[in-house]
């Protein structure tokens, strides 16, 4: 059914359609609207047999979720930014226990400095937590990905993080096609836990594992991750057939077929903005492809390699980076493309809510095609005026207008 609603409400509706048994809530922007709405559904009775629990911290939100999932019910929670870090210990724990929790991360920067706006620092900080991380490019994608996430999580036996850009998506009021309860029930059967805490069959979960078996436990966990690649593809296929929605998947290609000069790899809501810009560029005769990376964990090396094909240059439009290193997506792409001549670069932009406009994408494409991306890592949308106003006085250093490359940064320190 078509709705013109806020993304958060859409996600809340999608979650409710999945009939969770326990939903935990702790407020943090920009995730809050989602759980507010789920809480309302529970209270008004539209979501039945569900306990909505207001907890005292994200750490407890994750902990309660661990308890309820281990207790054998479908469990959902949501968080963002600082909240995700505050629950980090539990995040790792949930995956180690193999609990199929679904959690929305309304992606947001991490302080200090405190910043409530969108980038990908929070979710990517948990890339090694053992969770599946699925990124959404639109609110429709978010609605659909949440429904798929429960099925994927339960089939794989690992928790899933659904990452949607904070504010840009969560607070956007858009047309959404929400599947019917019948459709979702057909797609997602009642939760059958593979193991849970039951006095009829007592088990001890969460044992201490010593060096004798720890590596093997991790290997088996990684196997689940690898299996998840095919599960994601299969579940996506099923879902698309059922609803006709073009959502989910490991990745999604736009205008890729003939774009052998340049492809952009983008995660999240920037994809839509970029698609519009690519269409405009096409009218100028510039052919650029976009690969929307949906599944960051597990990372679809094979699928990505195929999607890139023989493209000469790939720019990863990244909204987070690793201090003291470089981009986060770019090295993964390099791994995928190892042994090819493909040039792979990072254009870092959109940190802490700095908007990525069509013009930003346009700039990246033009620079790329002009061969200006000479280094792996570039601070693309940095404002030299702001920088210089500080650095000139303190260190006598200035930067020219425009993007700053890694080597420029390094040289400025010499």
């Amino acid at each position: 059914m078509l709705n013109q609603i806020e993304g958060s409400l859409g996600v809340a509706k999608a979650v409710a359609l999945c009939r969770p048994g326990v939903v935990c809530a702790y407020p943090i922007s920009p995730q809050t609207h989602i759980v507010e709405n789920v809480g309302k559904f529970v209270k008004e009775g539209t979501l039945k047999q569900c306990d909505f629990i207001n907890v005292e911290s994200e750490f407890s939100a994750m902990s309660v979720s661990i308890g309820s999932s281990a207790g054998g019910v479908r469990t959902y929670t949501a968080t963002a930014s600082q909240g995700l870090l505050f629950m980090a210990e539990g995040v790792y724990n949930a995956s180690g226990l193999g609990l199929p929790i679904v959690m929305t991360v309304a992606s947001r920067a991490i302080g200090s400095p405190i910043n409530i706006w969108n980038d990908h620092t929070d979710s990517l900080s948990q890339r090694d937590s053992g969770w599946l991380q699925l990124f959404c490019e639109s609110n429709q994608d978010a609605v659909d990905t949440h429904i798929m996430a429960f099925k994927i999580a339960e089939e794989v036996g690992l928790p899933v993080m659904v990452c949607m850009d904070g504010f840009v998506l969560t607070h956007a009021f858009e047309r959404l096609d929400i599947p019917s309860q019948e459709e979702v029930d057909k797609f997602l059967p009642e939760y059958q836990p593979r193991e849970f805490l039951d006095p009829k069959e007592p088990i001890s979960m969460g044992a201490m594992v010593d060096p004798d078996a720890f590596t093997e436990v991790r290997f088996l966990q990684e196997r689940k991750m690898v299996k998840a690649l095919s599960v994601i593809e299969r579940v996506t296929k099923e879902y698309r057939e059922l609803t006709g929605h073009h959502s989910g998947g490991l990745l999604d290609c736009y205008n890729c077929d003939n774009a052998t000069d340049l492809k952009l790899i983008i995660m999240g809501s920037t994809v839509g903005t970029a698609k519009d810009e690519i269409d405009r560029l096409k009218k100028e005769g510039i052919n650029v492809g976009i690969i929307s990376l949906k599944s960051f964990r597990p990372f679809p090396y094979e699928a990505l390699k195929q999607a890139i094909g023989n493209t000469k240059q790939v720019i990863c439009v990244e909204r987070a980076f690793s201090f003291g290193a470089r981009g986060i997506i770019c090295p993964e792409v390099k791994r995928a493309m190892e042994g090819t001549n493909c040039e792979i670069h990072t254009a870092l932009c959109g940190l802490g809510g700095r908007a990525i406009y069509g013009s930003t994408i346009n700039g990246i494409v033009k620079q790329a095609l002009a061969g200006k991306f000479t280094e792996e890592f570039t601070w693309f949308d940095i404002n030299s005026n702001v920088l210089n106003s500080y650095l000139k006085d303190t260190e006598g250093v200035t930067f020219p207008q425009g993007p700053i490359t890694d080597s420029q940064l390094q040289n400025s320190c010499k």
Partner: protein, 353 residues
Amino acid sequence: MLDQIKFYQTGSNTIGNRLLNPSMRAIQASADRPNGLISGHRACQGCGEALGARYAIDAAMRATGGKIVVANATGCLEVFSTPYPESAWQLPWIHSLFGNSAAVGSGIAAAMKVRAEKNGDAVAPRVIAQGGDGGTTDIGFGPLSGMFERNDDVLYLCYDNEAYMNTGVQRSSATPPSARTATTQLVGEHPGADWGKGKDVPMIAMAHGIPYVATATVADLRDLEEKVTKAMSFHGARYIQILTPCPLGWGCASGVTVTVARMAMETGFFPVYEAEYGKITSVRKIRQKQPVINYLKLQRRYAHLTGKKADPNVLARLQALCDTNIKNFGLLGDDEPQLTPAAIQAYERSNKV
């Protein structure tokens, strides 16, 4: 005839007593007790926590017909009971993290309720969350308080051995003043743990107004079993703090675990009481009052107070602490305590020397 006789003569303070009707004996006396925590665990010799956990869990299992699920904080109990590939538990049990067992318990309780609803079961399994004093009074305190204020249907059991034993005996907020730990060593002018620090979690639990709060020790099994049984008769958040001596951390012989806990009660050092909805309803009276030195001298963590060089002022302060407990809780005599006592730390802090 047999039933008309009082049985204390042959030791009704013992765990069983062949002369008693089996229904009047402690659960631990029963040959078919649940043994929720069974042999083969790797606790140290004379571990008070292993003992306290079996006592409490068995009582809860009895009270619920075995329908109990346990969430366990990281700590000795978790480590010694479930090292791969062997678990010593005989009931559904989960270990998640150090500081979250109360919250995990809340989640399980919600799950049990929802599952029972979905399955049409009349009774949902009950939930126990448990941890040591570090996991309870320090790192897990926030989730504990949250569980309390939501009045989630969880019984929280704190096995209080007054320090972080699993990591090698470091001070916690339950470590008593003057006690030696690895982070409060017996050196300098004021050896041992500082005075005027620490927190009284049973009192804090009471301040949440939850249905049931109690303290107990491994030295009075019947009292402990009654409290756990009573706790299971309430729904909502409940808290029992059980003093479980640690021979290793306290520096006592492995055989005196129960004796030293008894001494903690009989000196007034550890007041044993219960409270309903924030008010104290009963107090376990001291049977044979002992001076605090008799408690201290069993433990090497107080070695500086029991030798020739003992500082009489510190001993006097510890005795005063016991006396204050005795007075405030009415641990002696037949009087019911009149007022709700304040945390013992308050008295000490207000009496800074």
